[in-house]
């Protein structure tokens, strides 16, 4: 194949991202439904979905707001869910670090699970790819994903107001979280980290203001990281 031009890289990004809409559409709609049922108005649901663009963190914030947790706990817990994106940023830096600052600032806004996963894979597979083509590929991935995510949330928010309570949608949130975690339990370290976190959550529930969530997660992260370190050495 010829040297990739920004244009061909952009189109490749678009086509690579389209299948991920199967995940993005239901999650977006579900957030619209859950946010509306929790009592947010349409503007607030759309504010979450365009400014935060991170389903798991948005669900976390809504759940803790329903639980009447203090504001600071809502914010810190939801941001903690997004800390994985610091890892994405660090993993992209060797490939995109030489792009102009404004392009990196734009990519940061577009850096969600799907665009990250696709782009990082492409950069690894094609080490000779020029930086402008890398940027174009990333923007290509984001082109279908982000507008459709926002649109799906809107549809969910409008429909959500019409769904009766018999459908037990209260439980859609835990199910969604399990759905986000289960495929990620790839190694013993991941499983041990998750189990540690669950056991700590159950035994530390007495810590006030929902802070046990952060303590349990931190404990789980340390166990996961330590197992990984020992396995590597």
């Amino acid at each position: 194949m010829a040297i990739s031009t920004p244009k061909s890289a952009y189109l490749k990004g678009v086509t690579g991202a389209v299948p991920f809409l199967l995940v993005v559409v239901p999650f977006g709609m579900l957030f619209g439904v859950v946010g509306t049922e929790a009592g947010l108005n349409l503007a607030q649901v759309m504010g979450f979905t365009t400014l935060v663009i991170a389903g798991a963190a948005q669900f976390t914030a809504i759940q803790l707001m329903v639980d009447e947790a203090p504001t600071i706990v809502v914010i810190v817990s939801a941001l903690a869910v997004n800390l994985r994106m610091a890892m994405y940023a660090a993993a992209l830096a060797p490939y995109l670090g030489r792009a102009p600052l404004w392009q990196r600032a734009m990519i940061a806004y577009l850096n969600v699970d799907q665009t990250y996963a696709l782009s990082h894979q492409e950069y690894e597979d094609r080490p000779g790819m020029p930086v402008p083509a890398r940027v174009a590929f990333f923007v290509g991935c984001a082109t279908p994903i982000l507008p459709i995510w926002i649109l799906a949330t809107y549809v969910g928010a409008v429909l959500g107001a019409a769904i009766p309570p018999e459908y037990a949608l209260d439980f859609a949130v835990p199910i969604t979280f399990i759905a986000l975690v289960a495929p990620g339990l790839r190694t013993i370290a991941h499983v041990a980290a998750a189990l540690t976190s669950i056991l700590l959550a159950l035994s530390l529930g007495w810590i006030p203001h929902n802070l046990w969530i952060l303590v349990a997660a931190l404990g789980g992260m340390m166990v996961g990281a330590e197992i990984e370190r020992r396995a590597a050495s």
């Binding site: 607030q44 991170a54 869910v81 037990a168 399990i178 370190r229």
Partner: protein, 110 residues
């Protein structure tokens, strides 16, 4: 969620928007293409699989919709979602397994 005023809700949205952007920008924007310490990345890799289970576990065991009573239908749904998502390595399969089990058991116990 009646206790949240409009300004409080918008404040949370703004804080999460800015905070999340700062996280996304962090190493990409500030570090450029310099390398990053392994031990930090090692910990960050486990954020998603730890914070979400901590949050879910009480919701699964003591659901608010049943006033904190353990509910067989919701418990079975959680197990089905976990098994489906783990085996298929797919989030949508997990949601379908979980919600189908929830409705089936609720219907059967009815």
């Amino acid at each position: 969620m009646t206790s949240w005023s409009d300004p409080a809700i918008w404040g949370i949205i703004a804080a999460l928007g800015i905070g999340t952007y700062a996280i996304r920008f962090s190493f990409l924007g500030l570090l450029g293409d310099r390398a990053f310490p392994d031990w930090v990345l090692r910990h960050l890799r486990y954020t998603a699989v730890t914070i979400l289970p901590a949050l879910i576990t009480p919701m699964v065991l003591w659901p608010e919709a049943t006033s904190g009573q353990t509910d067989p239908a919701r418990l079975a749904a959680a197990v089905a979602a976990l098994a489906g998502g783990y085996l298929a390595r797919n989030a949508i399969v997990a949601i379908l397994c979980g919600m189908a089990t929830l409705y089936l058991v609720q219907f059967a116990v009815g």
